[in-house]
């Protein structure tokens, strides 16, 4: 207890939730004896909430092309663009956030790939005895095998910080092309999959989001590989995992 007289700065800091708990309690007690001041504080809070509600959505809008162009002008090297896009997405929240930014060139095809990938996710995650062809105990072999099949150096990202461990992986056919599936599981038995298919000639994209019948996917293209991180998870949680996956793949 400091017992110091309550100043106008204390009142503002109370509105902003920036007083230490002990001081906040003192100011609250002071307000309890002054209904007029208490009403003023309530109104100030209400105004602040109204401002946040009114202007908050602007931060979720897609980035206008002319602003995106400033970054292009600044000569960002291509391999960084996807990282920047991931950063954009992480903040955006809204589905279309980055889509308008990096163009829709690959969208129609991507949609099919994502439907396929989500389909494979549904087929394999309930499997109890044979969820994967090659188990995590043979991770090096699994990664080498799938890399050879896809003709690209793949990696099974370490998602232990997200609470997921590798179960294993399998080779899939995606519209006649080889595709890789890595399956992960958390301590609660929840499974997610990471799909990977070669996209020769495709340029990097931002993270994109899609949901089919409650199964959600974040997907992107980086260095001629299309990735999708799929699971029955809240969007924010899945995004976290997708970002971790991206970061792990980025580490050479």
């Amino acid at each position: 207890m400091s017992g110091a007289p309550v100043s106008e700065s204390d009142v503002q800091a109370l509105v902003d939730g920036r007083l230490a708990p002990a001081r906040a309690a003192e100011v609250e007690a002071w307000l309890a004896e002054r209904p007029e001041e208490a009403a003023r504080v309530a109104a100030l809070r209400q105004d602040r909430d109204a401002l946040r509600a009114a202007y908050g959505p602007i931060a979720a809008e897609p980035l206008p092309p002319r602003l995106a162009a400033e970054f292009a002008r600044a000569g960002t090297p291509p391999w960084r663009r996807a990282a920047a896009a991931a950063a954009i997405f992480a903040l955006g929240g809204a589905a279309g956030w980055a889509a308008g930014y990096f163009g829709h060139g690959h969208d129609p095809e991507r949609r099919d790939v994502i439907r396929e990938a989500i389909g494979a996710h549904r087929v394999f995650i309930p499997e109890v005895r044979h969820p994967v062809e090659v188990a995590a105990s043979e991770e090096a072999h699994l990664v080498a095998w799938l890399s050879k099949k896809l003709g690209h150096a793949l990696k099974a990202p370490d998602l232990s910080a997200q609470g997921f461990r590798l179960v294993g992986g399998r080779l899939l056919s995606d519209n006649g092309r080889p595709a890789a599936l890595f399956m992960y599981e958390n301590s609660a038995g929840l499974r997610i999959t990471i799909h990977c298919v070669a996209e020769p000639g495709a340029s990097e994209t931002a993270f994109r989001y899609r949901e089919i019948d409650g199964v959600a996917a974040f997907y992107w293209i980086d260095e001629h590989l299309a990735y999708a991180v799929i699971g029955k998870l809240q969007r924010d949680r899945l995004l976290e995992i997708a970002r971790a996956t991206y970061a792990a793949l980025e580490k050479k």
């Binding site: 100030l44 909430d49 400033e70």
Partner: protein, 165 residues
């Protein structure tokens, strides 16, 4: 260097939000953001990595805003903004209009203080740095700005905003 660009990119949504509330106009706001990006991206080398990038960007924006205000010979009317997305629900639209009008009546330095602290949730220290003023001055602008806003939204026949969604 490129990592810094990604950090700047991360701040764009907040810069747009602040600029929109500060200017009351979408196009002007994005002009301001664009100038801020051009300037910051060309001066990345001036940013000290030990410092947080957010106050640095907002400071650049604030200075550009002041320059622009000095150049502008007339006040751009605040209020209804036809470029606002049509999908906005009517009540949130009305809320935005009311707040645009009210903020437009505040002195600029008070408006900036109210927005940096209340909407951008910037620390008092950072907000004072952005505005280039001592913290005591920030607190008094914050208090006066909020008081004025409260009166504008409260009295004068305008219905007070009751619901916040």
């Amino acid at each position: 260097m490129s990592g810094v660009r990604a950090l700047i990119l991360e701040q764009v949504p907040a810069l747009r939000r602040y600029a929109r509330a500060l200017t009351g106009d979408r196009e002007r706001a994005d002009d301001l953001v664009q100038d801020t990006l051009a300037r910051s991206l060309s001066r990345i080398h001036l940013w000290r990595p030990a410092a947080s990038i957010r106050p640095w960007l907002f400071t650049i924006m604030h200075n550009l805003f002041l320059n622009e205000r000095r150049r502008a010979s007339r006040t751009v009317p605040l209020g209804a903004d036809p470029a606002e997305p049509a999908a906005d629900r009517a009540d949130s639209r009305a809320l935005l209009d009311d707040l645009d009008r009210a903020l437009g009546q505040l002195a600029e330095d008070q408006r900036a203080a109210v927005l940096l602290v209340g909407v951008e949730e910037m620390s008092y220290d950072d907000a004072a740095k952005v505005l280039g003023i001592p913290i005591g001055t920030l607190m008094s602008r914050l208090s006066r700005g909020r008081e004025q806003l409260r009166r504008l939204l409260d009295g004068d026949g305008r219905p007070r905003i009751r619901r916040v969604k």
